[in-house]
Amino acid sequence: MSEKDDILKNIGSAEYKHGFETQVEQEFIPKGLNEDIIRLISEKKGEPQWLLDFRLKAYRKWLTMKMPTWAHLDIPEIDFQDIIYFAAPKKATEKKEIDPELMATFDKLGIPLHERSVLAGTAVDAVFDSVSVKTTFRESLAEKGIIFCSFSEAVRDYPDLVRKYLASVVPIGDNYYAALNSAVFSDGSFCYIPKGVHCPMELSSYFRINARGTGQFERTLIVADEGSYVSYLEGCTAPMRDENQLHAAVVEIVVLDNAEVKYSTVQNWYPGDAQGRGGIFNFVTKRGICKGVNSKLFWTQVETGSAITWKYPSTILKGDNSVSEFYSVAVTNNYQQADTGTKMIHIGRNTHSRIISKGISAGHSQNSYRGLVKILPGAENARNYSQCDSLLLGDKCGAHTFPVVENQNPTAITEHEATTSKISEDQLFYCRQRGIPEESAVGLIIGGYTKEVINKLPMEFAVEAQKLLEVSLEGSVG
């Protein structure tokens, strides 16, 4: 490799701060996917028969399905037999004490697992490859009746709750990747907020891919019982590698009468290098149901990572007067591709939804917003407002919007606004005349453009997300 290529490579990837690999002894199962592998995963986790049956049913369904091709994405062929579906740090599975090496890893990622840390107001479930290594504040939350634990523990300790809600929002055959996840999912987070309880701290899950050649298939289930409230946040990172790694998660959220859930994501999977080598394929199904009357579900996502993102956090507004919002910033740089957006399915009366999507494309990237607003015949007086803005940096990238509105109720009102813009020379010159160098000026202008979304994040993470946006776009102008 010539010196120049080296420099280019550094520019493209030097700023991905979470690209290190942790050296711990890990246990792997053989690579490949078949019923024996699924049985092995289930056995490793000591699962009951019903869950094994669930997995096998999903696997058989998956075998009949095809990879979706409708997205505006160029996805290289994925060899599902070349993936390791379960990898766990050995010490984590053997002992109750958390391995200091893993403790140090999460510290380095800014997610300290000591309860007396900077993030004292946040409970964390930390997932490392296929297992949850630690869930903080479990005991103090339990005093209020809140269940916050790894998915595996939930299966063991609260099987009735899990059985009642698992796949109730995302059925096993919902789509290709959801079926795959249902067959092979390893760990993830489970959260139940009992009736009338206002969760006193932020709950969060942090997903870390570490092992080479593996995929991560986590499963998250959140149930907010009547009149409860919870704010939930997930973050994720992975080492820098030339190989692509698959992340296919399923998140299900159930919101009952008068309950409210805020779900925020800061997605920072390794995006690949400046030439488009490596990076995570992030193919994720996230869906919530506002099942009860007056229930509320708010999605906020800041998507800066992943080589390819395929993700549409969606809400089924079933309860009368239920409300859902989707606030999104999706950034693509270099050769990243993103096809992301939301679905708002209005079933109940007086249901309201709001979609604010801000796309930013730079480099040679492709960034698409895809949205569906569907208003069923019974959704009297439903309302939707959608706004999709795209910002282009440079002239080699693409921004696309695919908004679809299906309104089957004459009393419903939907509004849609869309803009596409570039950072103007005038704005840059104005900033620079005041002494703000070009890179900072771009950061400032992007910050202004995305503020409406970033402000929806919990405070500590808003600052982090802001920095992440600036880092993701470094070197993309000029």
């Binding site: 010159f429 005349q433 002494g435 400032l444 910050g447 202004g448």
Partner: protein, 253 residues
């Protein structure tokens, strides 16, 4: 009386946009403590001169030199010229949606401080400074939290420019048609603000079409720019003469 130190010296400056030459040999010397007015018909190159001095890259300098504070600035970026103490009040101030005035100015002031090797100002000190400087142009404190120039009236935008100038304390302020689009009250407020910022060691270049601004900001020298050259330089009485007689007698004279 000994002459003050030279702050800006322009010699034989030529500049073009594409194939079109707009500045065709400008010579101008501005000393500390001086206020210069530049007048001239539309299209004579006044705004081009201010943009070239501030380092806008859509113009190409084809000949000549510009020294500021004894330093050749033609090779400097716009932000470096800002750090040197050059300020341009824009004829049409730019809107930056979502970026508050506080955030914008705090970024700018701290970049200037960093350039000088100073620590960034803490939030409390910064807000105090900002409030006192907003008073200079009688700006309502509520403007601090509004997006830069977004939804501002013409007068508010120009006041915001002079407020920014007060924050950055430049050695040389170039006011590009600061009076355009202002009613009498706003004009008085803006001009008074500029006068309050005058010091023995700084200077201003006031670009205008009208005498009325110069009633408030009294120039030491008045230049007439025409077709990219300064064709006449005289004392402040020249502005009044132009107001009465127009430019034809100078152009044809």
């Amino acid at each position: 009386m000994t002459e003050n130190k030279i702050l800006l010296e322009i010699k034989g400056l030529h500049a073009s946009v594409g194939d079109k030459e707009i500045l065709r040999g400008i010579d101008l010397t501005v000393r500390e403590g001086e206020t210069h007015a530049i007048m001239g018909p539309n299209g004579s190159g006044k705004s081009t001169l201010s943009a070239v001095l501030a380092g806008r890259d859509s113009y190409t300098v084809t000949a000549g030199e510009v020294t500021f504070n004894g330093r050749d600035i033609l090779g400097l970026t716009p932000e470096e010229r800002s750090f040197e103490g050059l300020f341009l009040s824009f004829q049409y101030p730019i809107e930056i949606p979502g970026v508050t005035n506080v955030n914008f100015m705090r970024t700018a002031v701290n970049e200037h401080r960093r350039h000088k090797g100073l620590e960034p100002l803490n939030a409390a000190d910064f807000l105090k400074l900002m409030r006192s400087r907003m008073e200079i142009v009688e700006m309502n404190p509520s403007f601090s939290s509004r997006g830069v120039n977004v939804g501002f009236s013409g007068g508010e935008k120009k006041r915001n420019e002079i407020f920014q100038m007060a924050m950055l304390e430049p050695r040389l302020a170039i006011l590009d048609e600061t009076d355009s689009g202002l009613d009498v009250d706003a004009l008085r407020i803006v001009a008074t603000g500029v006068n309050k910022l005058k010091r023995p060691d700084n200077a201003a270049i006031v670009i205008t079409h009208y005498q009325r601004l110069l009633d408030y900001i009294v120039p030491d020298v008045v230049h007439v720019l025409y077709k990219g050259r300064i064709i006449k330089t005289a004392g402040k009485e020249l502005a009044r003469e132009i107001e009465e007689r127009g430019y034809d007698w100078i152009i044809n004279g």
